[in-house]
Amino acid sequence: MIPRRKKRLAMVLSLVVGVGIAMTFILLALSKNVDLFYTPSQMLEGEHKPQVGQRLRVGGMVVEGSVKRDANTLEVEFLVTDTGPTVKVLYQGILPDLFREGQGIVAQGVLQEGNVVKATEVLAKHDEEYMPPELAEAMKGIKHVNPNSNEAYTKPPSGGN
Amino acid sequence: MAFSSVTEFFAMGGYGFYVWLSYGVTAAALLALVWHGRMVRKQLHQAAQQQAQRQQRLARRQQQQQENR
């Protein structure tokens, strides 16, 4: 290669590498702020525990059998967990269509005494798996029911979801 | 086929609005890109024509100057 080109190549590549390294440091420094939500473990056992009264988002799995819904109002409560500790979420409003026991959710609200989050918004997370309904029922025993329909969660837990 | 009727197809299991919004905006954005490409082409034609006319004028003037001399 012509020395002039070699010099240009070195300059350009070092620019990219430099910016890459700078970005890495920035993102590492910001990593806690880039996280969209606390997991229950981070909330209860993590280094930066949130304060009571703080607005936050908590994300995790809805514990099986923990969803209790008032048949007449839109009030709902459920437990959220990740690997160990659980957090209770209170919410009043329309649940996203993907909401289901065992489903990942992100709730935004205010932390109250006793690991309770009074949520103003509940978002559903979904995994990267897709399959036809018949296959899902056969493989996982999951039959998805719209969480806002009347038959959802108002029956005793033994009836499944 | 996943749908038994045309109405059912357009309803998309209750998600019609979101599905057709997505497909509609995608089609619109792609058509805009096609349209913009055509515009660029048209502008290029105009620019080339202008340049050709300018050159013609220039050549004529030079010719006149030579004749006057």
Partner: protein, 250 residues
């Protein structure tokens, strides 16, 4: 590859070569897209959780993948343009950027329209969505810089530097869902693993991805041809091509 596209005396040759590809690319893109989208919308089974709303995937995933792929291509062109100073490489930056911007816009919009019914929100400042939005701004920035200078080469150089530096955003987009807690889920299809989908869903998805690739290639080819004409407007071959035989008499 750049060597034979290289010489700027051969703008005419590249123009005609690209012109020979263009109708084939356009026709096959339309055909493949028609098959893929039709298959995805009508014949693929619904998803067990998301019902028919997941059919947005057949445009969301291809546009998102290609928005990143074309950016990588543009960054490589920028590297070639900066180091080897090949004009065709400079011009392809101008050809790629608008197409990539539209693809990024489509991925963001279809993502929002999918997120509203499924997640419960149109938009969330989560790492994946934010970094994809930055990608859109990068494309627009490259485009603006390219055309911001009255001297074409200065603009091309400035745009190249931004395009090249912006490439650090690409791995951030891809890995954002693994590095941070985000609302967006992980990748369904990657090169290295079996897709987390049954074949009756992933085959039409792959057809759509292939269709988007062909379409993107067609758009870029068309725009590169225009850029060649724009840059060589003063040359006799362009005059002859655009104005016709009139010039020849002179």
């Amino acid at each position: 590859m750049w060597r034979w596209l290289h010489p700027y005396a051969k703008g005419e040759a590249s123009y005609h070569l690209l012109g020979r590809w263009l109708p084939w690319l356009t026709a096959s893109a339309l055909l493949v897209l028609l098959i893929g989208i039709g298959w995805g919308l009508v014949f693929a089974p619904p998803d067990y959780q998301q019902g028919d709303s997941y059919r947005i995937i057949f445009i969301h995933v291809p546009s998102a993948m290609l928005s990143m792929g074309t950016y990588t291509g543009m960054a490589i062109a920028a590297l070639v343009a900066l180091v080897w100073q090949i004009r065709t490489a400079e011009w392809s930056i101008a050809a790629i950027a608008p197409v990539g911007a539209v693809l990024t816009f489509i991925s963001l919009l279809t993502g929002a329209a999918w997120g509203k019914p499924m997640w419960g929100t149109w938009w969330e400042w989560d790492a994946r969505m934010t970094s994809q939005l930055i990608l859109l701004f990068l494309y627009l920035g490259v485009l603006a810089l390219y055309h911001a200078f009255s001297d074409n080469r200065t603009g091309a150089k400035a745009a190249s530097i931004l395009a090249l530096v912006g490439v650090v955003n690409i791995p951030i987009i891809h890995f954002s869902v693994y590095w941070w807690n985000s609302l967006h889920q992980g990748a369904t299809i990657t090169k290295f693993a079996k897709p987390s989908m049954p074949p009756e869903m992933y085959i039409p998805l792959f057809v759509c991805i292939f269709g988007f690739m062909l379409m993107t290639a067609a758009f870029i080819t068309q725009r590169l041809r225009h850029e060649i004409l724009r840059q060589e407007l003063h040359r006799p071959w362009v005059q002859q091509l655009l104005v016709g035989a009139k010039v020849k008499e002179q």
